[in-house]
């Protein structure tokens, strides 16, 4: 080969054999729950930058944990939001409605009134608090664990239940898996059963808002596990490239079915640091702290609204219940893990704050609890009159041929005829 020779190996010694580092869960049944490697900042210590500050300058916010409520229920530090008691009670109420709603619908699934259900127990503060920071004409691209967005947005419980029951009043005409709601009017995008796809669409929606020169902003939602899907990346990239008015929310509830968040997180210290790779302001927040949620959400919504671009937020929380009604978490994590969770329960914490601030009493709380239970019970009664999956009445079989296209095309008309419908 003339002047050119095959190169020689330039490392003399043979190295030791490689091994594969398979990431393990922190904790499995039989182990003692352990959250000691989780970074938890003291309430009030993390600074609050101006919304105009550069992403670069607020790097540290991705590895700290923004918290407002301390153990005694006091709101402390620069993130403590200005928020009146009425709003706080509304937030508390909304969270309690979600929890009761979840409890009843989970039970309804067990009673075979529906096929499937997903609870959000322990995570109610995030979607509730965030929704309170949004305008009604803003849009959410939710995950399946964010019934709170609808509930806080004032969507009728009866209709949510009707969707879950696939009954005669189901707005989605029996087509969707229970819990995969849709309500444009409530700023709630139609849910997909495929995770992550919509995180990306949210950026497109936000880009359209910008192209049209509107002033409504968009919130995208994704789970810790689902953030491993490629569409998470595509969304971050598009948001970064086009500075879309979108808030990119990642809910780290520690689990993706049976797989610990550590498997996806890999070598990154937190999920929030993923945002640094795209030059996005990236914050990590105590998701069980209603005040912190509301404060950070308002901050990020303001950034988007003022055309300052996207914000990436990791909300740290814990999935207290099963992944879904088809799941039994005792097979893969210690039963005691929820109790060991260091950030407490969002409803308890907000209640404590209200009581500590003198705006609330145990009696008022008990009273509210009763009202919430009654409200949800009544809604369920109404929904069940409209039917359940088990006993009907349901949507029409004919409905399956509609909405595939704007008009039913000839070939579907033929199939409908053949089906005798």
């Amino acid at each position: 080969m003339g002047v050119f020779l095959k190169m020689l190996t330039n490392e003399a010694e043979v190295a030791t054999p490689l091994t594969l580092a398979v990431p393990a869960s922190t904790c499995r049944p039989g182990d003692t729950p352990d959250f000691s490697d989780m970074v938890i900042s003291e309430p009030g210590v993390v600074r609050r930058p101006e919304v105009t500050e550069s992403a670069q300058d607020m790097h540290e916010l991705a590895t700290e944990l923004i918290r407002v409520l301390d153990d005694k229920g006091n709101a402390v530090g620069p993130w403590a939001p200005v928020i009146d008691t009425a709003m706080l009670v509304k937030g508390l109420t909304s969270m309690m409605v979600t929890r009761e709603f979840d409890r009843r619908m989970f039970l309804a699934q067990r009673q075979a009134k529906t096929s499937f259900f997903m609870q959000s127990t322990g995570e109610e503060a995030i979607s509730t608090g965030f929704r309170f920071a949004m305008r009604d004409d803003d849009m959410n691209f939710p995950t399946y664990r964010q019934q709170s967005l609808l509930i806080a947005g004032g969507y009728p419980l009866e209709l949510m239940m009707s969707q879950i029951y696939s009954n005669s009043h189901d707005p989605l005409r029996g087509r969707q898996l229970p819990g995969l709601y849709s309500s444009k009017d409530t700023g709630f995008f139609t849910l997909s059963g495929n995770v992550a796809t919509q995180f990306l669409q949210a950026v497109g929606w936000a880009m359209a808002s910008a192209i049209k020169g509107s002033d409504s902003v968009t919130a995208a939602w994704i789970g810790d596990g689902s953030s491993a899907e490629s569409d998470f990346f595509s969304a971050m990239l598009m948001a970064s490239s086009f500075q879309a008015p979108v808030i990119l929310n990642l809910i780290n509830n520690q689990w993706a079915i049976s797989t610990s968040q550590s498997v996806v997180r890999g070598q990154a210290a937190t999920f929030a640091v993923r945002g640094h790779g795209f030059g996005l302001p990236s914050l990590r927040v105590d998701g069980n702290d209603f005040l912190a949620v509301y404060a950070v959400a308002s901050w990020a919504v303001e950034r988007a609204r003022r055309n300052l671009g996207p914000t990436f937020i990791e909300w740290v929380t814990y999935r207290v219940g099963a992944h879904s009604s088809s799941d039994d978490p005792s097979a893969y994590r210690p039963k005691s893990e929820a109790a060991a969770w260091p950030l407490g329960d969002p409803i308890e914490r907000l209640k404590r704050h209200l009581i500590a601030s003198g705006a609330w009493t145990e009696d008022q709380h008990a009273d509210l609890e009763g009202k919430v239970k009654e409200q949800v019970r009544l809604a369920q009664a109404v929904a069940e009159e409209w039917g359940t999956l088990k006993s009907g009445p349901g949507p029409s079989p004919r409905d399956i041929f509609e909405d595939v296209y704007a008009d039913v095309p000839e070939h579907l008309q033929r199939q409908r005829r053949e089906a005798g419908l």
Binding site: V22, S166, G174, R175, G193, V195, A228, T259, F401, H411
Partner: protein
């Protein structure tokens, strides 16, 4: 053995007999998969042979391709076939074409398992039957067992195979041979002869169909869950149909098909996937081409409708024994 147990058993034997077999996917490691088809593998073979991955189907298949090219035989799970789309590029552009474009320099002997089909009220993202999206792709093999015996033998063949194999598991059959009568008591596998699965290693060659019921009046071509629904339909309308369980779509046992249709002169194709451009279309094209002069009536297709899979109206959508029966009668009248 149930189908789940048979699949688990096949994994065990494959991993025992060949160190290069590795198994991974979402929740398949510690938990053993949401349908428990990989249960016990991690504790038996350790976490480098069977492990959980992040929720990213492209990453699962993409990494498996790299591993396969580097001498392993990955057998990976996609949690539901409905979630294979993020991996579709890796499957079509890469796994299926590696051998061809490198003239054999690199190959991708991997198996991609995924549950398919409806009947569990899973709605549009837990019920799909995307087989035709694989059969259109040169370089892939597509297999679909209908019982525990076949599941084990075909899965072992798939893992042994030097080409990428898409292994579709009709999830409604995991725990019993469902015949479409959703309102009747569930039949367990134990009541079915093909649940009698030998404990040793055996393979069933890819590309051989099985005649589940011999008959002379009409040929029913089907696979997966629909095998039992078709058998029920045949029994109920008392037509002497020959029911063929294809088991493998690519390669296809065309010989068995032709022989049967030449004999019966009539043909009904049944699948759960949507009609237009479903695999049934290919079967119709082949049968009319190869058996044209034997055919006495148009080939009928009984399939899912050309809509997404609905939730509440599942039993309207699912091709029922009644619909199949009607098609059989229509064909006989043709």
């Amino acid at each position: 053995m149930t189908m789940i147990e048979a699949i688990r058993d096949a994994h065990m034997l494959a991993m025992e007999s060949d160190d290069s077999v590795v198994v991974f996917g979402e929740d398949v490691g510690f938990f053993g998969g949401v349908f428990r088809c990989t249960q016990g593998l991690q504790s038996r073979f350790g976490p480098t042979r069977c492990f959980d991955t992040p929720v990213n189907e492209a990453a699962i298949v993409g990494a498996a391709i790299g591993m396969a090219a580097n001498g392993m035989r990955p057998c990976v799970e996609i949690q539901f076939a409905d979630y294979m789309y993020p991996a579709y590029d890796q499957i079509v552009s890469e796994a299926a074409r590696l051998r061809y474009r490198s003239a054999g320099d690199f190959t991708a002997p991997l198996t991609i398992r995924m549950p398919v089909g409806g009947g569990i009220f899973g709605g549009q993202t837990h019920s799909q039957s995307p087989e035709a999206l694989f059969t259109q792709v040169a370089g892939l093999k597509t297999v679909i067992p209908s019982n525990p015996y076949d599941a084990k033998g075909l899965l072992l063949s798939a893992i042994e195979d030097d080409d990428p194999v898409i292994f579709l598991e009709p999830k409604r059959l995991y725990n019993g041979p469902f015949d479409g009568h959703h309102d009747r008591p569930v039949t367990p596998w134990s009541a079915h002869e093909l649940s009698d699965v030998p404990s040793e290693y055996y393979t069933i060659p890819l590309g051989s169909a099985a005649i589940r019921r011999a008959g002379s009046a009409v040929t029913v071509l089907t696979y997966g869950t629909m095998v039992y629904v078709a058998l029920a339909a045949v029994a109920e309308c008392a037509i002497d149909a020959e029911v063929i369980d294809l088991r493998s779509l690519v390669p296809l046992d065309l010989e068995t098909i032709i022989k049967s249709v030449e004999k019966t002169g009539r043909c009904v194709v049944v699948h759960e996937a949507t009609l237009t451009s479903g695999f049934g279309a290919e079967l119709c094209a082949l049968v009319q081409k190869h058996c044209f002069y034997a055919l006495e009536a148009p080939i009928e297709r009984v399939t899912g409708y050309d809509t997404p899979y609905p939730h509440a109206q599942e039993w309207t959508y699912f091709p029922s024994p009644e619909r199949i029966g009607l098609a059989l009668q229509q064909t006989m009248a043709g």
